[in-house]
């Protein structure tokens, strides 16, 4: 598996062309240690209370810091900047969100300075191509928590691939340039020093801009060299006499201006400059020269050269980004980098939480457990219908089925979860059928939205504790495997259940309540009505 992705929304579709697996929603408890790379992709939560939104955004940073401390520092961790894709500016408190987003993103840059494996991806760079109405398809948001419009997945994929490449691609060191019809229009040997097209009107104007852009690349540390079939005296004369030419002899680290074949010239350049062939890019307007290099020295990058001078700006942009982008703090400029560095020193960035327990406690989670009633029974039935992953037996029931079970004396517990950021509503369910002094746990399930905070264990312990208080002696339970519930295959073992039989897809367990010591974790507050 290539990427393991931490996320807080449904985003699978956006990474569907890659080998990935995903965390639960806002779930940092599980980290796939075998992943080659990690991604942190959080979107601003879609909620109505701006104070809550900004508090959650700040909390994401704490989650992130804890996660960073838990993944191998040798592996790339790509972190998306956070954008608020749905904000209503007229509402008071909108500024809180802006501040929180700013805090989030600047902290990312600080973290990237401290950890070499962290690469920050400027997500705004992608989102800014779209209007705010294009970013969200509310229909899909409401049916599946897909906050980003699913139709953007293809352009996203292309964009993301390019970003990953620029993160991982080794920056090329040297740009080798042909002269005639590459750095200027026309052929020096035929058109003469004043006859070549550089500066003045089009097409000279286009070549001039191209030369200036290459000059800038040189200032950023890219080594420039010439490889051209010309008489060197002619070229030197042009350099000294034609003032429109920007790139002169002093800009170039080495010159191969002769009539020898270009492949041999480029190999010599590599030796002279003491750099690898694989760190060179060769520009030439002549397809047969390009072809020669591609065939003879495949290590050298040889991009196609535009056929018209007006295409040069686009061409330059593409080669600059593809081969010479410095991947350092996304697109942030150097002065900003310095600023971040200073901030990082001042703040002495530290994780707020020392471990998962600490994090869970900070959430102030309250578990409210109720026996099902006339109102909650519909939701309870719906949960049996819809829950696939954290579902031990995957029994599907209607509310009528559940009513009948209640009539037969079953206990059906629902779980609602609340933390400092809000309430989840009913997101857990357990059906306990009573059988004399024994209880059969017919169903035990939780919505995947609340996983990753130890709630599943707390809920099970609470139930076992309750059954013990009610003087039941033993509990029987089952795990029925399906294609989707593998994550719970050893769930009951964690609570001391013993396997009494195992056949096909069914594991049956039993637990003697008299034998077990049940510890209700004090990470949570329990309310039982």
């Amino acid at each position: 598996m290539e990427f393991f992705i931490f996320r807080n929304m449904t985003i699978e579709r956006f990474f569907s062309k890659l080998k990935t697996s995903f965390s639960g929603y806002e779930d940092i408890s599980f980290i796939d240690q075998d992943a080659e790379r990690y991604i942190w992709f959080y979107l601003a939560p879609i909620k109505t209370d701006n104070k809550v939104i900004s508090a959650e955004i700040r909390n994401y940073i704490d989650l992130l810091k804890l996660t960073i401390s838990r993944i191998p520092s040798s592996k790339t961790f790509i972190i998306f900047t956070l954008s608020d894709i749905y904000s209503i500016n007229t509402i008071t408190g909108a500024n809180d969100i802006k501040e929180a987003v700013k805090y989030y993103n600047s902290t990312l840059h600080e973290l990237a300075l401290e950890h070499n494996n962290i690469k920050v991806l400027d997500f705004e760079n992608f989102l800014s191509r779209y209007s705010s109405t294009e970013l969200i398809d509310w229909k899909y948001y409401f049916i599946s928590q897909m906050a980003l419009n699913p139709r953007l997945s293809n352009p996203f994929h292309d964009w993301f691939k390019k970003q990953v490449k620029s993160i991982e691609l080794k920056r090329k060191k040297c740009l080798i340039l042909d002269l005639d019809n590459t750095l200027w229009g026309g052929i020096l040997g035929e058109d003469g020093i004043e006859g070549i097209q550089i500066g003045g009107d089009y097409p000279g104007k286009a070549f001039l801009m191209f030369q200036k852009q290459i000059e800038e690349l040189g200032k950023q540390g890219v080594i420039l060299a010439v490889c051209s079939k010309n008489n060197i005296e002619d070229v030197r004369q042009a350099w000294s006499l034609n003032n429109s030419i920007v790139l002169k002899e002093n800009h170039f680290a080495a010159l191969k201006i002769n009539w020898v074949n270009k492949a041999d010239n480029i190999k010599e350049l590599a030796q002279e400059l003491n750099i690898g062939l694989d760190s060179m890019v060769f520009l030439d307007d002549n397809p047969s020269e390009r072809d020669l290099i591609k065939t003879v020295i495949p290590e050298v990058e040889v991009p196609d050269f535009p056929t018209q001078p007006y295409m040069l700006p686009e061409f330059f942009k593409s080669i600059a980004e593809k081969y010479f982008s410095i991947y350092n703090l996304t697109s942030e400029d150097l002065s900003k980098t310095k600023q971040y560095k200073e901030n990082a020193l001042r703040n002495n960035v530290k994780s707020t939480f020392t471990d998962m327990n600490d994090y869970i406690r900070s959430l102030e989670i309250e578990l409210s457990i109720e026996e099902v009633n006339n109102i909650t029974i519909v939701r309870a039935a719906q949960m049996t219908q819809k829950t696939n992953q954290f579902n031990l037996t995957t029994q599907r029931y209607t509310d009528t089925d559940l009513s009948e079970m209640l009539n037969d004396g079953a206990k059906i517990y629902t779980l609602s979860v609340k933390d400092k950021f809000g309430e989840s509503g009913i997101t857990g369910l357990s059906i306990c059928k009573l059988n004399g002094e024994t209880v059969d746990i017919d169903s035990f399930l939780l919505s995947c939205r609340i996983l990753g905070k130890g709630i599943e264990d707390a809920f099970m312990n609470w139930i076992l504790n309750e059954l013990k208080l009610l003087n039941f002696k033993a509990v029987n339970s089952k795990y029925i495997s399906t294609a989707k519930n593998i994550q719970v295959k050893d769930f009951y073992e964690r609570f001391g259940f013993e396997i009494i039989s195992e056949s096909g897809s069914i594991k049956s367990y039993s637990l003697n309540l008299g034998d077990v010591q049940i510890n209700l974790s004090d990470n949570y507050k329990y309310n039982y009505k």
Binding site: T10, E12, R13, S16, K139, Y140, F142, I143, S144, M146, P150, R151, N388, A483, K484
Partner: protein, 74 residues
């Protein structure tokens, strides 16, 4: 239209589908791929399904009649 639907389904569910393929007899037809399937159908046939319709589109034959119906109404 049927063939196009099957072609899209095959691609999304990553298995060979048949006329009688439905959510129950196709293991890869999970909730996530269901949405992907609907999105592809909406794009291909230039229609838009309501959430209630999306929930009811649990077999290829229902999908087909739903699209048929939509296209007739245009």
């Amino acid at each position: 239209m049927k063939e196009k639907i099957k072609e899209i389904a095959t691609e999304v569910f990553e298995v060979q589908v048949h006329d009688d393929t439905n959510q129950n007899n196709c293991e890869n037809w999970d909730s996530l791929r269901h949405l992907n399937f609907i999105i592809e159908l909406e794009t291909e046939f230039d229609v838009s399904f309501e959430p209630e319709e999306i929930a009811s589109m649990t077999s290829l034959s229902i999908v087909e009649s739903m699209i048929q119906e939509k296209s007739n109404n245009i």
